[in-house]
């Protein structure tokens, strides 16, 4: 299998990671102004021929590639080439960055102040910085930070400025440009703006890709963009978008540069600024349009404590070594390189595999705080309370000691799975727990020594709820805001548990402990959830082996030639893992149920989310469904994408809308398989 080497896994315990330095510490002791005005002389790419912004634009407009597309567009539309050239020039004008050191210094100064107010520390792995510095000199560099907050790219530039590294140009969504002054300032600090969708617009694509490639090829600046395309509202990594990655790999594949270094960067926030904003958005309260005034309203956030940020600059990945043996570069020999061409199948699957690998590299170096474990435990406890109808009684929640004990247990499991967990071992566990709960006090209630999620009252005007005291549906949504916020922290650790958890669930739904059957179930689940989680395409076998390896190593399973058996002491882990997956399994089942029972002929892509949400609310209120988490539009979209991919739902393009056609038999059988009611037949698995 071609993808094997890309995802090869080792014993996760052997992962070596760098130490962190807090870059705010120095800022608290010396002048911010002096810092912002410091001498800034970054090392540059060895092959750099420096050029001004105007020259860059000319290079793009004069490029063979753009000329070709301009002529093509002119022929197709009948417009004069000069007019198309004008359009191209206007697109470039709208897109291009205008980096100015003075603006960067202004941001550096302002951000110092803001960061010091918001965060306890910003920790950076300095060895990663050194590696990056080296990489920048050798080859053009692409920075790929994870994307969890608006903060991300300001933070990145701030850190690079602090360490005297070349400032990146950053691909930003056009929506930022709506923020009048801020948009222009971002532009002057290195952002360039791209429209969110320009699918069929050849000219736009040509200008855009040539702009990025010109910067990259000439080593003018590191290019930074978000592989995930947008901020993850759930804190789970998103399925990587390939457009920009294709563009930045192109110069290497076509031999225009010797190599390109891609550097995954993992930014982990102890507390996310947009926490409840995201939860509301997922619940269908529309996202406020980015506006400058909106940003100022967010000033309230300035008065709160957001803990610390960890930024880990990963090992630079050489595109050349990634492509070695995977892409035959000779395929570009027979047509002029400036003629745009769709990527061939092998290039596409190479870029796709590389993208997954890079997202996984981001995940692996995400720092997990103790709260992530607490959130996971509290969430599970919350559901058990609901299950056992003690949600209102004095027994609800967890005793602090119990929570601490469970957290310590989970901490050890986590470490065995190779998680990058920052648990302060020198602090007594009870203090670790209480300070974590304190930082996230908006999400938990502590009374009489018991801890639970803060779901029952709307939490007052400053709290995260939607509206205080209202009808049952609003109450449900209020609860859901807290649950989803909490789930977003649990999600930070999902990648650690994902493979073992899929195996645990597979054992649960498989009809026997026969190894082949368990593998079939595993493979089914993995396939079903491949839009939900980062699961590298074509790596089912490795994922299964990794899961087996971890669970056998930790004494949870015994695996023979024929059978997968749980051990007595493995029960606790298996139960935890199964409970972790359960909301997703149930969510997908409910969606299947909706499609079979309620979906009308007129269901469209647009009406899908509101309709399914309405159905779920009914189910939740009637007590037939316990996981409010399933109200997340993210889960609903992912499930639909999976069903479309599997062919259980078909899209039919109409005149003005796309309707969804449900294959009820197939959806029904998927629902039953998810619920463990149907064996994962070999045939079904093969078809999937």
């Amino acid at each position: 299998m071609a993808s094997e080497a890309v995802y090869s896994h080792r014993d996760p315990m052997l992962k070596k990671r760098d130490d962190f330095e807090d870059i705010l510490e120095e800022r608290r002791n010396c002048s911010d102004l002096r810092y912002a005005l410091k001498c800034y002389t970054p090392v540059v790419y060895k092959g750099l021929t420096p050029c001004k912004a105007g020259v860059l634009k000319n290079m793009v407009l004069q490029s063979d590639q753009l000329h070709y597309v301009i002529n093509q567009v002119s022929k197709e539309t009948g417009k004069a080439p000069e007019d198309v050239q004008e359009e191209a020039s206007a697109i470039l004008e709208e897109m291009a960055h205008r980096m100015q050191l003075s603006t960067v210094r202004f941001f550096a100064f302002t951000l110092c102040k803001v960061f010091k107010t918001l965060f306890r520390s910003i920790c950076v792995n300095e060895e990663g910085i050194q590696r990056l510095q080296q990489a920048i000199q050798e080859h053009p560099v692409v920075l790929l930070p994870s994307h969890r907050s608006y903060m991300d790219f300001l933070l990145m530039s701030y850190i690079l400025f602090t360490y005297d590294l070349a400032l990146p140009v950053i691909a930003a969504g056009m929506d930022f440009m709506g923020m009048k002054i801020v948009g222009e300032m971002l532009r002057m600090s290195g952002a360039f703006f791209i429209r969110r969708s320009f699918g069929g617009d050849k000219l736009y694509w040509a200008v855009f890709s040539e702009y990025v490639k010109t910067i990259l090829k000439n080593g003018l600046a590191p290019v930074e963009f978000f592989l995930e395309g947008t901020r993850s509202r759930t804190a789970k990594s998103l399925t990587p978008k390939l457009g920009l990655l294709n563009i930045v790999m192109d110069p290497f594949l076509k031999g225009e540069v010797f190599d390109i270094n891609v550097v995954p960067v993992s930014i982990s926030y102890e507390r996310i600024l947009e926490e409840t904003l995201y939860a509301r958005e997922l619940l269908g309260v529309p996202k406020p349009k980015e506006s400058t005034s909106g940003l100022f309203k967010a000033r309230r956030v300035l008065s709160e404590d957001y803990g610390s940020i960890h930024v880990y600059f990963g090992q630079p990945v050489s595109v050349r070594s990634l492509a070695e043996g995977r892409v035959n570069r000779c395929q570009f020999n027979l047509t002029p390189r400036h003629i745009p061409k769709r990527p061939s199948d092998d290039v596409h699957s190479f870029v796709n595999a590389a993208a997954y690998r890079l997202v996984r590299a981001q995940e692996e170096n995400m720092v997990l705080k103790p709260w992530v474990l607490l959130a996971s435990l509290l969430l599970q406890n919350h559901h058990q309370d609901l299950d056992q109808d003690r949600a209102a009684g004095p027994e609800r929640g967890m005793g602090l000691d119990e929570l601490t004990e469970e957290a310590l247990w989970l901490r050890d499991v986590c470490r065995q799975y190779g998680a990058f967990l920052h648990w302060p071992d020198h602090v007594p566990p009870s203090e670790v727990v209480s300070s974590s709960l304190d930082l996230h006090r908006g999400l938990v209630r502590i009374s009489e020594g018991r801890v639970r999620l803060a779901v029952e009252h709307a939490a007052g005007p400053s709290g995260p709820g939607v509206h205080p005291g209202a009808g049952p549906e609003e109450q449900l949504l209020n609860q859901a805001v807290v649950v989803l916020s909490c789930a977003s922290y649990r999600n930070q650790a999902l990648h650690v548990f994902l493979r073992p958890a899929l195996l645990a669930s597979a054992m649960h739904i498989a009809t026997s402990s026969n190894k082949q059957e368990v593998f079939n179930s595993f493979s089914f689940l993995r396939n079903m959830f491949s839009n939900e989680f980062i699961l590298c395409p074509g790596a089912t076998m490795q994922d299964f082996e990794e899961a087996c390896f971890l669970l056998v190593k930790t004494g949870v399973l015994q695996i023979t030639e024929q059978e997968v058996l749980s051990t007595h002491r493995g029960h606790r882990t298996l139960a935890f893992l199964t409970r972790m997956m359960d909301p997703f399994l149930q969510g997908y089942q409910v969606i299947c149920m909706f499609l079979c029972e309620e979906a009308s002929e007129a269901l469209t892509e647009k009406t899908f989310i509101p309709a399914v949400r309405g159905f779920m609310v009914k189910q939740l209120l009637s007590g037939r469904l316990r996981y409010t988490e399933v109200l997340s539009s993210d889960l609903q979209k992912n499930a639909l994408a999976a069903l479309l991919r599997l062919g259980a739902v078909l899209k039919t393009k109409g005149a003005d809308q796309t309707t969804l056609k449900v294959n009820r038999v197939m959806v029904n059988s998927l629902e039953d398989t998810l619920g463990g009611k149907l064996p994962t037949q070999k045939a079904a698995v093969a078809r999937l």
Partner: protein, 569 residues
């Protein structure tokens, strides 16, 4: 003799005395490049000098060379690796007695002498010369025959077919593709067919400007003889002192003046080749024909796998009235390449040739130019005086547009001269732990800069990864230009102190460099040929069907694999 043979050879009555001019072998090195009397060496003062009297450089002392040599390679005059003066035991010949008997009866001279056999068992690849310097000899031909005309070759090939003997044609021995290496698995008698005695110009046709020449003639001799009659071919490959007309045809050779005169395929009008199936040739000397695929193109580049080229009719031209060298210094390689491209589109003849080399050691300082980036183009103009001068001016004007400054005739001439002595430099390096080689490719214009950068970088990186302790020399030059692209040469050398198997490291790096060339849109070879060195890439180069075509030609022409050097396919 420099050889000690492991067996006492029966001296054949037919050998040597019949041979009119076995000269080359006697005045040439057996384990290095060129003439015995000509070589670079460091004298007692530590200054480099070039010995002998044959070249303009001969007798000159070059103080700068030592510094360049030491600083480029980290080499030191204290660390020597002299060649072993004689070779180890040569395997006794495998003789097909019946063939030998029949051959004797033809009266064609032959030899089983170890020295003769070793001399014809190799070309000039690094690994071949390195092994010889260490005194190591592998499988060598069992006999050498010296046909003196076409009919002799016909007889030899007939006898070889009759007795199932393997023939390997041998011209000037300047191959750099392992083409002359004897396949170690060959169990039949291997006979080296040395064409050096077939060295006459049979006739000159002044009406049609053609000359009919025996294929064993070497380049400088051909040019000298034609010059006596006031003509030239204009075909001047770097190896022209030693390489033969038949060799040029068999490898698709290219010369540095090809812009005026053309490459070998443009120069030949008629070819005669002896194959196991008989003689192949066209029936007339028409300048061009539409008679199906040109059969010359089965012969050109056949690398000795189909037969022996015996006679060639070549185009000739009156010797140029006027010749002028020139040179231009560019601030960098990029500008130089752009300039050459433009020169080519504007000036089609007169501009005989040029070579563009970055960072040459003979021009290190030039006003205002970064010595690490500057690049020199050497130029040669030929033709009638007026037009030469007119075009010379045009070229310099164009060069100026690209920041190029005229750097004088002397530099130009020196550049050309260096072309001939550069191969001697490798021998000097090999005396001091430095091994190297050049290899070439052809590539479309738009990829020239990319391929140069990427291949040079790949070489450096591969050396590092393979434990080479010193930074390698990794450089390139553009030596030929075409409308659609250029020929690029790469020079690669390194100091191998500290490596246990330097030749293996060298080969791995060259292999990687060739992969890189192909991945960057370069060809497998512009004019060196494939031989056995580059065979593995043939299928992807010419496609599966292309391979099938070539194979079926071989199968028809030589079903018994008499021409068994195993090149190409």
């Amino acid at each position: 003799s420099a050889f000690t043979s492991g067996v006492s050879l029966e001296s054949s009555p037919n050998t040597m005395e019949h041979i009119k001019c076995p000269i080359l072998q006697e005045i040439m090195k057996w384990n290095g490049w060129g003439y015995v009397d000509s070589k670079f060496q460091f004298n007692k003062k530590g200054q480099a000098e070039f010995t002998g009297k044959r070249y303009r450089l001969s007798g000159m002392v070059m103080p700068a060379l030592k510094e360049w040599f030491e600083s480029t390679f980290g080499a030191s005059l204290q660390h020597k690796t002299p060649a072993i003066p004689n070779s180890s035991a040569v395997q006794p010949p495998i003789l097909n007695e019946a063939f030998v008997e029949d051959l004797k009866s033809t009266g064609i001279p032959f030899s089983q002498d170890a020295e003769d056999r070793v001399f014809r068992a190799h070309g000039h690849c690094l690994h071949e010369i390195f092994a010889l310097r260490e005194g190591k000899v592998g499988r060598v031909p069992d006999m050498v025959v010296w046909p003196s005309n076409h009919n002799d070759v016909v007889k030899i090939v007939e006898l070889a077919c009759k007795h199932n003997v393997c023939l390997i044609p041998y011209g000037g021995g300047t191959s750099v593709s392992s083409a002359l290496e004897c396949p170690p698995e060959e169990t039949r008698t291997i006979v080296s067919v040395d064409t050096s005695q077939m060295n006459r110009i049979l006739w000159i046709d002044e009406k049609n400007l053609t000359a009919h020449v025996e294929a064993g003639i070497v380049g400088q001799e051909l040019e000298r003889l034609l010059n006596e009659s006031g003509y030239c071919t204009g075909h001047e490959p770097d190896s022209m002192e030693f390489s033969s007309l038949g060799g040029w045809v068999a490898t698709r050779a290219s010369g540095m003046k090809k812009n005026i005169y053309g490459n070998i395929e443009d120069l030949v009008v008629h070819i005669r080749m002896v194959t196991p199936q008989g003689v192949i040739e066209k029936s007339c000397q028409g300048p061009r024909m539409s008679t199906g695929p040109d059969i010359h193109h089965f012969i050109l580049g056949s690398e000795g796998t189909l037969g022996v080229v015996t006679e060639v009719t070549m185009k000739i031209r009156p010797m140029p009235e006027y010749q002028k060298y020139g040179s231009v210094v560019f601030p960098n390689f990029e500008q130089g390449v752009a300039c050459l491209r433009e020169v080519l589109t504007l000036i089609t003849n007169v501009f005989a040739g040029h070579a563009l080399k970055p960072q040459k050691f003979y021009i290190t300082k030039f006003k205002g130019f970064d010595p690490n980036r500057l690049c020199v183009a050497t130029l040669l103009f030929e033709g009638d005086r007026e037009r030469v001068l007119q075009h010379e001016k045009q070229v310099y004007d164009i060069a100026a547009k690209f920041g190029g400054l005229a750097a004088g005739e002397d530099n130009g001439q020196r550049g050309y001269m260096l072309t001939f002595v550069i191969a001697y430099l490798r021998d000097l390096g090999m005396d001091y732990y430095v091994i190297g080689e050049s290899f070439e490719t052809s590539v479309p214009w738009d990829r020239v800069l990319d391929i140069c950068r990427n291949v040079k970088e790949r070489i450096i990186r591969e050396c590092k990864e393979r434990g080479v302790q010193f930074p390698p020399l990794s450089t390139c030059r553009v030596t030929q230009t075409y409308d659609a692209g250029a020929c690029v040469y790469f020079y690669f050398a390194f100091n191998y102190r500290g490596l246990s198997d330097p030749v293996h490291v060298y080969e791995q790096v060259e292999h990687a460099a060739r992969d890189e060339i192909l991945a960057n849109g370069g060809s497998l070879s512009h004019h060196h040929g494939v031989g056995k060195l580059r065979k593995e890439w043939m299928r992807e180069t010419v496609s599966r069907v292309g391979m099938g075509m070539l194979k079926s030609v071989k199968d028809y022409v030589d079903p018994g694999n008499i021409f068994g050097n195993r090149n190409l396919l």
